[in-house]
């Protein structure tokens, strides 16, 4: 029950903000208050039930369409809890970071809340059709968030985003349906290990599902919708776009495709790992060339998603744990960087890297946190990203050594472009006299970035806080796929 409650409270929040009078302060506090409830509930779940989230606990199972054996089946498992928590957390952060949105604030918060329902639902769904329904539920609010509140390039960006990901998820649905028809149920707990399908059937079903999931991530040849969308979005939408949405794809890979279709996914795993490497290397190279700070962060974000694909493909405990963990740490660092880019752009009026410089002197807090985020992105030990990237590489090296080595080289590339960026943006002399006047991040902005930075550090030092919850679930996946 608490799972269902947490998923649908944001829907009530959406209705509430639509009913409130159109007063900015009131709306912001109301939205923040509503968003805090799912966060508190998921924190409560962590402390009260954290040790019991083996496969799927706190579940609810109501058959919805009898003739097809489709049900409203939700539950929280160790694989999904990290992202479930992060979704509630990043929604609060997104609302805090929405200072650059003033127009139609009601509708903006309502769209964020509807998107939150979809995101939470995906990480809790235990039925394939329900998973798809929640997966698609994020699409329209995200389309609106980009299309209504983005910059001048927003309309083509929004429609491109919609058509690409809709194509991907429709193909994925076809795979789900074929799977359900062959196995005669859509309940995930009954489908573990392939639902009795032959190897050939599993491969045929896995191909469309993987395609849909990889478009969502996006894995690199399928990524061309992404840059325009990231760059056009308002800052707070970026938090969700980069922090949570790609994980709908990777989570589907780790906790739907791999455990439910182990033999079907197996022949594709080397390619998934190769996609991971391509993401890392391509992301790093293209980020290096970006004149726009936000585009650089966008490519950095695509790049480090590659580590999730690597870990997922590894098929061993170290790699899978790394992948599940990287979903959370990637969300934390990319949200941090996107917000700081928003802060810098708001203060200086530009995102062009060559026009920036010497900001550390004027913006010590924002600059310092930008440095922290960049160091996290390149995998500095002591920060959460290091733990998961390291584990992903270790895991994949054991299974696919070539991909492992290449990915490790990718880390060096990412260190190069990130340090080069820091050198140009926050260090050095102040380039323009106008920047003498620039002030540091304000209280609202600090409130939205400091929690992210704190969690990055805390999870970097005590990864067991999250690892302990996900480990039993990862072990369960391993017992299905026969890895170690």
């Amino acid at each position: 029950m608490i799972t269902t409650l947490t998923i649908f409270i944001p829907l009530l929040g959406a209705i509430l903000v639509m009913l409130l009078p159109d007063e900015e302060r009131l709306l912001r506090y109301a939205a923040l208050g509503v968003a805090a409830i799912p966060l508190l509930l998921s924190v409560y779940v962590y402390f009260a039930f954290g040790d019991d989230l083996g496969v799927a606990a706190l579940s609810q199972d109501v058959t919805w369409i009898w003739s097809l054996n489709i049900g409203y089946r939700v539950g929280l498992g160790g694989l999904g809890f990290g992202m479930f928590f992060l979704s509630t957390f990043l929604t609060v952060i997104a609302i805090l970071a929405s200072w650059d949105v003033h127009r139609n604030l009601k509708q903006y918060f309502a769209a964020i809340f509807v998107a939150e329902v979809g995101m939470l639902g995906v990480f809790a769904a235990q039925d394939l059709i329900l998973f798809y329904v929640f997966f698609e539920l994020t699409l329209i609010p995200m389309y609106l968030l980009v299309g209504v509140w983005g910059d001048e390039n927003r309309r083509p960006a929004a429609i491109k985003f919609f058509i690409y990901t809709f194509l991907g998820s429709t193909v994925m649905l076809a795979g789900f349906l074929a799977f359900g028809i062959l196995a005669d149920t859509y309940a995930m707990d009954a489908l573990g290990g392939g639902g009795g399908l032959s190897r050939t059937a599993q491969v045929a079903v896995a191909a469309p599902i993987l395609f849909g999931l990889l478009v969502k991530v996006p894995a690199v040849p399928l990524h061309s919708w992404l840059l325009d969308v990231y760059v056009s979005s308002p800052t707070s939408t970026n938090v969700l776009l980069s922090g949570v949405l790609p994980k709908l794809g990777t989570y589907g890979l780790i906790s739907v495709a791999i455990p439910l279709l182990p033999q079907g996914v197996e022949p594709f795993l080397p390619y998934v790992a190769a996609f991971g490497v391509i993401n890392i290397v391509y992301g790093a190279f293209v980020a290096f060339l970006q004149p726009d700070l936000k585009a650089l962060v966008a490519y950095s974000s695509i790049g480090t998603l590659g580590f999730i694909l690597l870990g997922a493909a590894s098929g061993n405990a170290v790699g899978l744990n790394g992948a599940v963990f990287q979903q959370v740490s990637h969300g934390l660092y990319s949200a941090l960087l996107f917000i700081l880019v928003g802060v810098i752009a708001a203060r200086t009026g530009t995102r062009r890297i060559e026009a920036l410089g010497g900001l550390a002197a004027r913006m010590p807090w924002a600059g310092g946190l930008l440095a922290l985020g960049a160091l996290a992105a390149m995998g500095l030990p002591g920060l959460a990203v290091f733990v998961s990237e390291f584990m992903s590489i270790m895991g994949v090296y054991a299974t696919f050594p070539v991909q492992g080595v290449l990915a490790a080289l990718g880390i060096i590339l990412s260190a190069m472009y990130l340090l080069y960026m820091l050198a140009r943006v926050i260090f050095g002399p102040i380039e323009r006299p106008a920047y003498e006047e620039v002030g540091d991040a304000g209280p609202a902005e600090m409130a939205s970035v400091v929690p992210l930075a704190v969690l990055l550090v805390v999870l970097g030092i005590f990864p067991a806080l999250l690892m302990n919850i996900q480990r039993p679930a990862v072990d369960a996946v391993l017992s299905v796929i026969g890895g170690s």
Partner: protein, 476 residues
Amino acid sequence: MTGQAFIALLPELISTGFLILVLMVGVYSDSNAGIAASLAAIGTLAVFASAAVLLASGFSGSFFGDGFVVDGFALYFKLIVAGSAFFAVLAAARWSGQTGDAPEYMTLILSVVLGSTLLVSMRDLFGIFLAIELATIPSYAMVAFDRSRRESAEGGMKYLITGVIASSVLLYGIVLIYGVSGSAMLSDVADTFTGTLTPVAVLGLVLMISGFAFKLSAAPFHFWTPDAYQGAPTSAAAFLSVGPKAATFAVLLRILLEGMPGAAPTWTAVMAFLAIITMFVGNLSALRQRNVRRMLAYSSVAHSGYILAAFAALQGGGVAFAVQAVLIYTAAYAVMNMGAFLVIDLVGEDAKSYNGLVRTNPGVAASMALFMAALVGIPPLSGFFGKLWIIIAGASTGSILVYIVVGALVVNTVLSVPYYFGIIRNMILEEPTTDTVTSKGSGAVRFSVYVLAVLATLFGLLIIPLSALVGASGLA
């Protein structure tokens, strides 16, 4: 007529009674628009209620020498016809009053209801033909009813000419089938249409399906659709594209399943080709439209194609799912398409008049956005469930041809995103212009739009259980 038969004919008797009543109002009363509309609304609701009571009480049986059947399947479609007619009456209430001919227009709607409710219960090919004509002939007049617009007369004329040709083709087909099997009863036809078909039988089958393809605006017999729907009064286009069409799909399903199960390999193949052509023609033509009414007309062609895809899946392991798919899709389509057409009454038919609608009229804009998203098939809105069942039915058949049809359906779904979302983009992402209409149309239309929007949203909770109930008791 026995008491049972009287009960079986209850929906038809009620609609006949109200039809006469409304006509009399036109004859004997001068200021009659309000009375006629209220009577017609009560009449359609009474038809709906009687069909609902019969369905809930599990009434079923075969009457008049097995020529008229009442089962869950037939009653379900009577609900769709009467329900959509109710919204058509609401939508037409004020407009038809302004034309001064409200009782006549309401009479036409009720005649279409009578014909369509009879149609879904017929088990005799000639009875089917008569019921189709009873539903179609008043609809020619409905399309041409708006005398203030030239397009209405033009659309009505085109609809009439093609409709008459379609009827004669259909009749030729029926006559040939009658000639081959020596009886027009579906149960007798079923005995003849097995094994290898004689050339005459194939010709009869093809002519009959072509006649139906005209009526259902399936490509390549669809060309009357955009002109007729563009010219027709909005309420007529909204009603004719869902109510009688659902009934026609239903009776075609009955003919094929009860009358020609032995010839399934032939007609499923025909349906597969019709479905693929219709989906592509509908969507590719809709993509180029700037006029929302024409766009919706082509969209209705595309949706006929989707439903025909379910017909192609009436084989192998897919039969039960395909019947359910037709049940669900026609209801889902009735809700979302009716809603979208009625919004035209509130906003206008030029795509530009939707610019920035969300700021001038948020309720209508949100409803229209829901209808458009439902027509694409975004979950959890109504259209999603229709497509879900068709895909499941198709995937359960084990036929390569049907797999191709399902693939075409997926491709077409993505193909349809730009034009449906073009409207959403205009409403939400564009700024209001001078063309943007703030408010027009009556409160009744607005009310209908909101009710239909709620139905489209909660479809999965409200109508899926109902159709599952019928699927268990009906044809399959």
